[in-house]
Symmetry: C2
Subunit: 414 residues, 2 copies
């Protein structure tokens, strides 16, 4: 199962730069919020371009776009691939977009070679992966998978009070196809890593074996406001210093469960917020992740136990509430192996890794065998106008995508 | 030097409750912002009441009020005492007010006894001690002492854009007397402790030997924003965890310089403030205090050295800027001893202590021999509608004030 088909990295790069015009920002990034005028523009471009490549484009009732190249077996389910074309408010040119345009490049390469696959191939643009304008993230792959309720999502509003459903109709992308009706033989998503590991280890391809489980915890620490000048150190019930110990406990627990575990305190408030008042209240929002479900449970337990010790030691109350948990995801082994073999066949340095960020592929993995491919991005920076990836790495990712798809066409996951 | 003069604690308490009506809040506190209608009401009451007690009331050009009882030596400078009648926006019934009304009670007690002092006695209400409506705090004792510029203070505005000078004229308290023209032989201020020490140690009288020196430091910690899911722990430059170490360093330095030293991190911001983004920037505002100037300098040096270690250890930048330093104040030893002797003569449990908070007496100490007396307040709570002190403790403070004044009248500081 090896072909000589070579994608055209210059053409892929030129297509990336072409779409980056829709919502281009002065700093070289992209602002293409879901269902905005810019989103409509890139969708129109995508539809026209896919049709020009001979693909049949269909849109479902929540705006997911499917561009299909027929296979030789009309009864075979499609092998699908793609990602998303929407961006963060100050996003980059690669997050999501690379996965869609590399799929287009794969289609064009097959067309040029006149190569016929057994299975139909379907390139997908999932609606609203970012969740920046309408929450939550990965919305329409979630609806497709049956994990999110469509009516609720359509009724959701942006900051200006405009609903998702209204905006979807306004830009003309509420399609006729029933959401979730179409199922796939397999799904593969190429994406920038959005982390620093591949770059640091000089690997070109991340063979993604699954996604981390996530636990989100909200905390409130209650001590006592008192005068910074008149309250002796031993008589204080300082919610700031308790917060400091909580932050370091999150880090310590993550290191204890490392290297796979991570833990972050990303938001905190210090109240009442006066230099000469000892803070009586602090709040925090914590994020723990681990690829193993039991380890994730153990991380949460270790952290909450440590919070009790901190509370006792500092005469404060620490209330911790779990507001969300998502179990880890394991991708399909046949797809993981196909990606790994495709990287090896192209002599590209590769490593297996876990996805730290969420992706549409996570929801899709509940509906069909799924896998992902990562390529490096500059210093791991993403969700940022400075987000950057090289032409060579983008091309390598597209090549591995194409080769993996052909391997799966020949030896599909069961 | 001992008299049988006894102040009337019930009358003092009743006067405290009477003035608490001007700006009374539903929760039992007082809202009497400087130069507000409520401030005018209590000032009118104070003037009328002092005049009814035979005192000559004068007002200076920044609203400081002086109520004088003549002495037998017309050439002697007055011995002064008092505090302030303005409050925090959600203040209590005792902060400042006790010092003024205990002085009034002392005057009334002398009147009833027909007791003649050698020195004139002057009861003072300093304008705008709180600084809540017009910054800074201790404004008009500062102008009186020559430490703050009068024109600048008069031009200062509140949130509504009203100037201090306009409001002073509006309520009719821009007096004819030149600010600072009147100087005293001595000044004694009675105040609630605003801290928990006296209550915890079951002492009735705090013999205040001086005021802490204060250093205010502003800090900015710069790491790097990155994705909470994709950035391995060892590759992070987490400004939140650096902030945590900074907070604990402030505490450690204070403990190292304890028990006199204190250190507080009262304000902090965590940016960009997203649960799944490792904070790239944090800011903090720190407050260090110590009664010894050299120790205060050493605390600051120890802290900034520790910040450099934290910055190195966490690959972040920590910029620390000193924005204010106030050297410690030592009160006059003759006055300290007079207060201590007065407490002992009344068999009141007393301890020497440093004032943790700032007071008008600090500025006045630059113009004449000065001292302070503290009485306990409930759980050290102040700047709060729940601020509370007992009738017995208020009465004890007034008694010590009167006795100390008489001791100073007989044996004034040189």
């Amino acid at each position: 199962m090896s072909t000589n088909l070579k994608i055209n990295p210059e053409r892929l790069w030129s297509t990336l730069m072409e779409t980056a015009q829709y919502g281009a920002t002065p700093k070289g990034g992209v602002r293409r919020l879901t269902l905005s005028d810019e989103d409509k523009m890139v969708r129109d471009w995508f539809k026209t371009t896919c049709e020009a490549a001979g693909l049949a484009v269909s849109v479902d009732a929540i705006g997911n776009m499917f561009a299909t190249r027929p296979g030789t077996d009309p009864s075979a389910p499609a092998i699908a691939f793609g990602s998303h074309l929407d961006t963060q408010p100050a996003g980059g040119k690669f997050d999501g977009i690379l996965g869609v345009l590399a799929g287009l490049e794969a289609m064009r390469t097959l067309n040029e070679a006149g190569y016929e696959t057994t299975h139909p191939l379907t390139l997908v643009n999932w609606t609203n992966e970012e969740g920046a304008r309408f929450a939550p993230a990965m919305m329409c792959s979630g609806v497709y998978a049956g994990d999110l309720d469509m009516a609720t999502m359509l009724a959701g509003t942006d900051r200006d009070g405009k609903s998702f459903g209204e905006e979807l109709e306004r830009i003309g992308y509420k399609g006729p196809e029933t959401v979730g009706e179409r199922r796939f033989k397999a799904f593969v998503e190429l994406h920038i890593e959005q982390g620093p590991i591949l770059e640091a280890e000089e690997k070109t391809i991340g063979v993604v074996t699954g996604g981390q489980g996530i636990v989100w915890l909200d905390g409130v620490i209650t001590g006592r406001d008192s005068h910074a000048g008149t309250t002796p150190m031993p008589m204080r019930r300082d919610a700031m210093n308790a917060l400091a110990e909580v932050a370091l406990a999150i880090e310590a627990v993550a290191l204890e469960f490392g290297p796979a575990g991570v833990g972050t305190l990303g938001e905190a408030l210090v109240l009442p917020g006066s230099r000469n008042t000892i803070p009586g209240t602090t709040t925090f929002k914590a994020d723990f992740r681990h690829p193993d479900a039991e380890a994730l449970t153990a991380m949460e337990a270790a952290f909450t136990a440590r919070c009790r010790e901190i509370a006792d030691g500092r005469k404060v109350e620490i209330d911790v509430t779990r507001i969300w948990r998502k179990d880890p995801i394991a991708f399909n082994s046949t797809i993981v192996e196909a990606v790994e073999a495709a990287a090896a066949a192209n002599a590209l340095p590769a490593r297996r890794m876990i996805s730290g960020a969420g992706h549409d592929a996570f929801y899709i993995s509940g509906t069909c065998p799924t896998g992902m491919i990562f390529v490096p991005c500059w210093e791991g920076v993403s969700h940022n106008e400075e987000e950057s990836a090289t032409e060579a790495d983008c091309g390598a990712g597209a090549q591995v995508l194409l080769d993996a798809l052909l391997r799966l066409d020949a030896n599909p996951p069961s």
